[in-house]
Homo-oligomer: 284 residues x 4
């Protein structure tokens, strides 16, 4: 729940040292800010301090953002700060399967995510009508083996023109190249239909069925250059038995994928996720 | 994980006001303490601020405890402070059923709880040998309808003599009177074998079976004068079907009860639980 | 997964006696049927036998249905038989909240339920456009305190004209009268937004928040004349903490309600649910 | 729940064909048996039929066992039959960690498993006193790199002399050789402390922590010549966050391991598990 007055959220991390909590909260108090939430974590082994702090600011939000970043730098910490005035611009990548797409689109319509869904980009036309039905701009960018580079350039141009800050792969069935991820430079969230690291790669429900597991899973993670290996944001599982065919796993999996991806997107858009190394810190 | 140097944990609550985080962390920093964990919560509706803060202290732990309490008072906050030097003194109340008793006793032996299990008090002799097998003092205090008052007096005297600070009702099958709870004056944790508030009172698995629920539960809560109505610390559930008899529910429930009670005890002993009104704030 | 050839599903129950499994499976085998699935349950206390059996029939499905019912009667058992040729006719009752409505409508469009969704009936116009967007017939039947009887008559006439065999209350915010349920005479499935029997009646998330529970739940059940007291089909829970406001419980609850209701509807439409007394047997 | 009169349980599997349910249940009915439970499964792809059937027999249990096996053979099916008179003889293999050992020993004492726990075999002396405290025979068979073959021979001789029919590896920290498994020839159940196939091999909690997963798991499976690759009987998971150290994962994992292994042992001893290929059918 956002307060009515302008609030700022900062995600900080850097080398641990005594007094960080005091120096951050003291700075905010001196400038007549009011801390709504503060959560911190120390990785004892690595000696790293992480913090998420959310406060009502008495000053101009943009000026306070800059001032806070500068203050964090004096403490040796990297800070990502964003204001409740800012509504992140998000694009969905989809292919043919509609379950995650519909789920996210309906949540946006219901106001669950305080951000703008500015584009749906797909390599297939299947969801075009549904997207337009939700009042969403739909962009068809077909991809095949020969035109992959050109298609990614077209996608990148779209994202750039639309000022997209986060991409969500809602069962988009193409692997984005390392070059794409680097050029885009902003977070890309993917939903993988297994409990990673089990069953990475293609057809994970077939793999799970062949192995005879008693639970199937889904994993939302940031996409990185290494397939299905990025920092995990959220995971969940559902129980299956010998009675379930591959088709049953696929059907049950759709519900898992929707819930897990929506939760990851919500955390990300609320600035609750800090990536470090191959892992995430989620301040929930 | 406790740090090697002496640490203090404070649980605070009081009327919300700007600057509380800064004033608490600033005080600790000034006295050269180092915050290991800090977690806070604001109840927006009630305007109450809650905090748990754990720090390494550079001074004498006992003196710092007192000083912190005094500082908290200047902020209008009630504070419970305890030091890592202090090992809480705990008593288990049991009857005939041994599952929670064995589970807790084995966890104590394994070092999961940093506290002293100083007595096992029972109204039946059934678990006497097992208690002694674990090296625990066993006290038989039989209870029947006519001697209940006398029995409670005997129990209270035992607790007082042993300096007991927390009582755990590990499937103790007697209701403690309001007078007992008031005289004891310290926390009493109970495990109820249902998902409260469903199926309060006696024979909850029979009630659950008769109602045809698809999940059974267990609830750990602080005992209060009103039966099964105290602040809830932890709950969990397990799936059941029409195939399960009452006996099956009882058997499955034992596993639930063990896990839920052990988790509640752990949180309580790590000073993670703040009670307010009929609820708890659990800083996990 | 239905087989390609016509299959029949029978749900049987009656007084237990030796040989029931043999007499049912023997009858099917003699008529050259092939059992695909068979599942049975004996309630030992009540002495009742329950069975679900699904088989490919070599004869005319309609004739076989009748013949099977007659055979079951000779064994003293009540039988509900339905053929894979039959597509049940279903109506959704909704009010303003759209989450369960959209979830079910999308599942129908995706082919998850082998049945016909023939009407959406609402006491508010809010979901009219969305229903039509899915190609569904939308009927507005406003209800207020004075016209409740007339409104129910209009609803019943609609259901009768459309040949509706199952009604699903997808967060319909009116209580259906005992008279309505009796006149309709077919199953009515409701989703209640709590873990019944806890928090029956109105505003269950407010009740749950006030009580400080650590899990919230949802319950799909058959509607009966007694509010929130009908046989439970499915239940599930989600973890909450002191950080969650009532609004958060409502939001988290929506996901629970969707999953629990969809599962109950699926089991019901696949003829997997037998009601007896206040309970259900679910052959999943 | 076993009935008071002698009951038989058969686990059958073989090529699917019409009439199998009728031919099995008919045979039992003709011999005046009374089926208590029957559950079957067809693997549509592989064309294999699986059945578990439990019945009260009117005849001599031993004779009926043989007669049933012969009948199953005429149907082309392999059958494992056992009588409620038979109490399976079980051995536990342990090392230093006591949590699964205590959990299982207490369940045996509580009568949860209708079978005989005839030996505890360990490569370390740590649990000797605890085993004797439970009245269990403890056998120390030290294992090091050079004597592994001799140690396995000693273990096999013990198992043979004691007539052991099932071995449970309750966090036994040695890999049993393919030769041992072949010589023993009976089921060996292992608990692996991860959600297999993720994190097979050594130090799975360290692997899980390094990967930053949000759920940890445990897997009970039959041991085969390939490490951590045998048919899975049961799995479960628990939620973890960035706050959990490796030590926390180990502690939380202990509870998972106990529950998962106990459930697998229970199903196995109740003759509910059929292995085929790399998978299990669990008739629960």
């Amino acid at each position: 729940m956002r307060a009515a007055s302008p609030t700022l959220v900062a995600l900080l991390h850097g080398p641990d040292q005594p007094g960080l909590v005091a120096k951050v909260s003291g700075w905010i108090f001196e400038r007549r800010g009011n801390i709504l939430h503060a959560d911190q974590h120390r990785d004892m082994e690595a000696g790293v301090f992480f913090q998420r702090v959310e406060w009502e600011t008495a000053g101009d939000p943009v000026a306070e953002e800059d001032a806070f970043r500068a203050h964090a730098a004096t403490l040796g910490m990297a800070a990502r700060v964003s204001s409740s005035f800012h509504r992140a611009r998000v694009a969905l990548f989809v292919s043919k399967a509609g379950h995650c797409f519909h789920d996210l689109a309906l949540r946006w319509k219901a106001g669950e995510f305080s951000s703008e869904l500015v584009a749906v980009i797909s390599n297939h036309p299947d969801l075009a009508d549904a997207a337009r039905g939700y009042g969403l701009a739909f962009h068809l960018v077909p991809v095949d083996e020969r035109n992959k580079g050109a298609a990614e350039s077209e996608q990148l141009a779209l994202l750039r023109n639309l000022g997209v800050e986060t991409v969500i792969l809602a069962r988009y069935m193409q692997v984005l190249s390392a070059g794409f991820l680097k050029s885009f430079g902003n977070p890309v969230i993917n939903i993988h239909h297994s409990f990673l690291p089990a069953f990475a790669g293609g057809k994970p429900y077939h793999q799970a069925h062949a192995r005879g597991v008693k639970l199937i899973g889904a994993t939302a993670h940031y996409a990185t250059a290494e397939l299905d290996d990025g920092p995990i944001i959220q995971q969940d599982v559902a129980r299956v038995t010998h009675r379930h065919s591959v088709e049953d796993l696929v059907r049950k999996g759709r519900d898992l994928e929707k819930i897990v991806l929506a939760q990851a997107v919500r955390w990300h858009l609320e600035n609750r996720v800090l990536v470090y190394g191959r892992k995430t810190v989620v301040f929930d």
